[in-house]
Amino acid sequence: LKISVDESRCVASGQCAMIAPTVFDQDEEDGTVILLQSQPPDEFGELVRRAEQVCPALAIRVAG
């Protein structure tokens, strides 16, 4: 798994941080996505793909 995020697109809906809090966090000031691990173990596959799918700003990309 390889994850990338585009902070400039992020609208801080917070769904990624709710779905996979060990992979995605949010900036304390404005909620912008913070990527905690860009290559999480494979068992995170389903969760991070769901985060990618529901992100309204198309700010998350998951490869692998």
């Binding site: 917070g14 304390e28 404005d30 909620g31 769901r50 529901v54 700003a57």
Partner: protein, 408 residues
């Protein structure tokens, strides 16, 4: 004359729901999804707009920067006269594009982020429990809307904003007018004026007080630093007060009704061990009910081509997400409520940069509220037949006016 005739033949939007199927979108809407997913429709003011009913097309258009939310642009399709008056009275989150939208939104996102909402969950649980305590003490019957669905989100948003709950009747009524597609322009202007002067007084008072951790204090802090002017603080608070009142309340009432009307689904719902366990079921209820049923309103900034159809710059677009959320190309068995299905890709909160700011709060309230109700009042049932209930067909946020229940 020819053009007039063509226009006159176009279907009128919004279409009426069938009262015998109160949980389903208007039948005509689902028919269009099959035959003409990018259709032209007539609106209340005689204008014409594109109505999009396909899930995939809605998702693509709602995340397309060539599609604008700016209500001041010619061709923007309004939902009704009062709503038009409000959307033109001052720009807010709903009616601005980036970069202005991003700037405004990021000033509010701190208070609705995952960690903040998770920290609020015990307090939401406490509010839900207290409301249920009162119901049980005065039962064995109640109107669920009055006793639970309205006060739960109202108490929560008042606390988050530091707005006195004693005043909730004022803004509940105003919020209702501002969601009514049949309210006149004068009613809209009057409601927004009353709200604006109410919030202005509140802000002036709050300006003198020590800073707390609520949204109003946070916005005033930004105002003191010169990041946001006071008028923008007032508009943001009006936006949050209105949005926090007609949305989750309608979703709570309608969800209870949908579960009470589907006994097999209710049985599954009752088996959940805690509110988090009910999270997927809440996503399915959000998809199935999609209460924001006036369509997501946009206007094209450039000529667009979708499936061979040309949409010209300046033409209005309406994404009917209650139809998109019933699209068989996106969901299995979309006409059936199945609380065990995986429906989290629904667009009940919209899609794109304007997706609901308060969605995590709404989810927490729905998970906690519905789980607590069905756990603490397991014998809850409707005390009148479903056919006798009255629904908000003409409001931009769909809902049920009263849900008489009994138990024991």
């Amino acid at each position: 004359v020819e053009e007039y005739k063509v226009m006159h033949d176009l279907p009128f939007f919004p279409m009426q729901r069938d009262e015998r199927c109160p949980f389903d979108p208007a039948p005509e809407l689902l028919q269009l999804q099959k035959t003409d997913p990018i259709a032209r429709v007539r609106l209340w003011d005689g204008t014409v707009a594109w109505l999009i009913t396909s899930y995939a097309r809605q998702r693509a258009l709602l995340s397309d920067a060539r599609v604008s939310s700016d209500a001041r642009l010619p061709g923007y399709p309004f939902s009704g006269p009062a709503i038009k008056a409000r959307r033109l009275s001052a720009p807010n989150l709903v009616t601005t594009d980036n970069p202005e939208h991003d700037r405004l939104r990021k000033m509010l996102t701190r208070d609705f982020m995952a960690k903040r909402i998770n920290a609020l969950r015990p307090r939401i649980q406490q509010i839900a429990d207290e409301l249920i305590d009162v119901m049980l003490a005065s039962g064995p019957s109640a109107d669920l809307v009055e006793a639970f669905a309205l006060p739960l989100p109202s108490l929560a948003i008042c606390e988050i904003l530091a707005v006195p709950y004693e005043d909730h009747a004022i803004f509940q009524g105003l919020a209702s007018t501002l969601h009514d597609t049949t309210a006149t322009a004068d009613q809209g202007t009057e409601s927004i004026d009353v709200l604006r002067s109410y919030v202005r007084k509140l802000v002036d008072k709050k300006y003198q007080e020590p800073v707390h951790d609520d949204v109003t204090s946070h916005l005033l802090e930004l105002s003191r630093k010169g990041i946001l002017d006071k008028a923008a603080v007032i508009e943001a608070l009006i936006f949050l007060v209105v949005a926090g009142h007609e949305t989750t309340a309608n979703m709570l009432g309608l969800s209870v009704l949908a579960l009470l009307s589907n006994s097999d689904q209710l049985e599954v719902f009752r088996s959940f061990e805690d509110p988090i366990d009910a999270a997927n079921a809440i996503e399915e209820l959000l998809r199935y009910l999609t209460i924001a049923h006036a369509g997501r309103r946009r206007v094209a900034l450039e000529d667009l081509e979708i499936d061979g159809q040309i949409i010209r710059a300046g033409e209005g677009l309406i994404m009917a997400t209650e139809a998109g959320n019933r699209d068989p190309e996106a969901f299995t068995n979309p006409g059936v409520l199945d609380v065990r299905s995986a429906a989290s890709h629904h667009m009940a909160f919209g899609f794109g940069i304007h997706q609901c700011l308060g969605q995590l709060l709404a989810r927490a309230e729905l998970q906690i509220g519905l789980w607590s109700l069905f756990t603490r009042i397991p014998s809850m049932r409707l005390s009148v037949p479903l056919e006798q209930l009255s629904f908000k067909q003409r409001h931009t946020v769909y809902g049920v006016r009263a849900v008489p229940i009994e138990w024991g």
